[in-house]
């Protein structure tokens, strides 16, 4: 299958205020994704998961390594649905913005597309004129997913998309991501520290520790016989082993 993302020997470091030396966040990270694949990126907080995502999208500078992204308009769904949507704008405005940026669609055409995406993400059309503050956490995260979908991406980076949501809502949002993946053959880089969710959701999982990849494989193999002690600990803390 066609490879849409290839990251080779990626190194990223951040400047530390009042200190001369830089903090190494990612060290020689290499990974790849195929079209339509769901790749899980797991690790503790501070292990560099979000940094990888931001580096792939060009949101932060990298020190060394190469990132080859062949996917059309890669998009990201952020962890916090409360700060991901512009509080001053309506749902309709937010969903139309990617179209304003990338297409010459007329206002009526954009509204039609918004209605269609709202349907895809399981929301009613009457939410169009509401502001994010009038929506629930689950609805907001669906709008975030919808905004990403407006650009018709081939790669979606979901950075802990359900960690800020209630358990019941988590299942609904994951189900939505799964159904979009199946319909559109969308590749998803799923970042999480919840290995239990990843087991059901991902085709392949990469385990990250202190900015380095320590293990990767299919969920069934990884969960049945983890090679690394760190992976074993992560599985234990998730209550799997």
């Amino acid at each position: 299958m066609e490879e849409i993302l290839k990251v080779e020997k990626l190194n990223v470091s951040f400047a530390q205020s009042l200190k001369k030396n830089r903090k190494q966040v990612l060290t020689d990270v290499s990974l790849s994704m195929k079209k339509g694949e769901i790749l899980g990126l797991a690790g503790e907080s501070g292990s560099g998961k979000t940094t990888i995502a931001k580096a792939i999208l060009g949101m932060i500078p990298i020190d060394q390594g190469t990132i080859t992204c062949n996917a059309r308009t890669p998009q990201m769904v952020f962890q916090d649905p409360y700060s991901s949507l512009n509080p001053a704008k309506t749902v309709s405005w937010i969903l139309q913005e990617p179209l304003r940026m990338k297409t010459k669609e007329t206002a009526a055409g954009r509204v039609e597309k918004v209605k269609s995406v709202l349907h895809q993400i399981g929301l009613e059309e009457n939410l169009m004129n509401r502001k994010p503050s009038e929506l629930s956490g689950g609805q907001r995260q669906r709008i975030c997913i919808g905004t990403a979908l407006m650009s018709e991406p081939e790669l979606l980076i979901a950075d802990e998309p359900v960690s800020a949501l209630d358990v019941t809502i988590q299942a609904q949002v994951l189900q939505l991501l799964k159904s979009i993946h199946e319909k559109k053959q969308l590749a998803i880089l799923f970042i999480s520290h919840d290995l239990r969710t990843m087991y059901q959701f991902c085709d392949r999982i990469v385990i990250l520790r202190n900015g380095q990849i320590v293990e990767e494989g299919k969920p069934s193999t990884l969960y049945a016989s983890p090679k690394e002690e760190y992976t074993r600990l992560l599985l234990q803390s998730a209550g799997i082993r």
Binding site: M59, M76, D80, S83, S84, E97
Partner: protein, 267 residues
């Protein structure tokens, strides 16, 4: 607009509306020529002919107040407009981009901020000279640092929000992100600062005119009238009372509107 339905905001709008209405009427009609002197009516008190009496040159105080409100209001309006437009531009650029540009502009800003705005305006007036246009320009320049600082700190808060990152991913340019995405979110804070700034501008104009370096005779301004009334405070108290009351109403109106906006934000 619905959320602004609180007592302070409505009272503020009513008081300011009243003052603006008088200023607008003053553009087309005044009971007497504000600059016409009448030796017979000199120092006359409140009467049916002269509702607020006459000054020491026999000029009708009510007519001069109508002209004075217009001058004070226009100076304050353009002062705040200069301060807001330039302040927003500087604050937005420094807050959004940061880096060396932020350092340079904000250090200049700090240097200007170190002087009280009226003192800064005095320096500019001493360089440019007196007159309505120059006073407006001087006060406008003096008001830039405070607006720049408010906008910068608000933009800095917003820049870290995920919706800004999301806008970048959508392909929005920096200009669009600053003015279309971020600015509407800092508008309530900016609006309340504009109201307070307007108040300060009214008082600063009145202060400068009182010192004799603002609006020049025979033009009327509320501050100028107060300054002229000082010598007659005991012999004809109405001369100081009426322009002073109008300044209080103007300032109170804008202060209440600012308070109302702040209250609405808290909801």
């Amino acid at each position: 607009m619905k959320k602004y339905k609180n007592f302070n905001f409505i009272m503020g709008v009513i008081l300011t509306g009243l003052v603006v209405l008088i200023a607008i009427i003053g553009c087309f009609y005044t009971p007497y020529d504000p600059d016409a002197m009448d030796a017979v009516a000199k120092n006359s008190g409140i009467s049916m002919d002269h509702w607020m009496g006459c000054d020491n040159f026999g000029r009708d105080i009510f007519s001069r107040i109508m002209e004075g409100i217009r001058n004070t209001f226009l100076i304050s309006l353009f002062t705040v407009a200069i301060g807001t437009i330039v302040g927003v531009l500087i604050g937005a650029v420094t807050g959004y981009f940061g880096g060396w540009l932020d350092e340079i502009l904000m250090r200049i800003n700090d240097a200007l901020f170190a002087f009280p705005s009226v003192l800064l305006a005095l320096v500019v007036i001493s360089l440019l000279g007196t007159g309505m246009f120059r006073v407006t320009l001087a006060l406008g320049i003096a008001f830039i640092p405070s607006f720049a600082r408010i906008v910068r700190s608000e933009i800095k808060k917003q820049v870290t929000q995920d919706y800004v990152e999301s806008a970048k991913l959508m392909g929005a340019g920096n200009f669009r992100i600053i003015f279309v995405h971020i600015l509407p979110n800092i508008l309530p804070v900016l609006l309340s600062s504009i109201m307070i700034g307007f108040n300060n501008a009214v008082l600063a104009e009145a202060g400068l005119s009182y010192l004799g370096i603002g609006v020049q005779p025979p033009d009327a301004s509320l501050g100028r009238m107060l300054s002229e009334a000082q010598s007659f405070l005991f012999s004809m108290p109405w001369y100081a009372l009426f322009p002073g009351t109008v300044i209080v109403i103007m300032v109170l109106g804008f202060a209440l509107m600012a308070e109302g906006i702040t209250q609405a934000q808290m909801k």
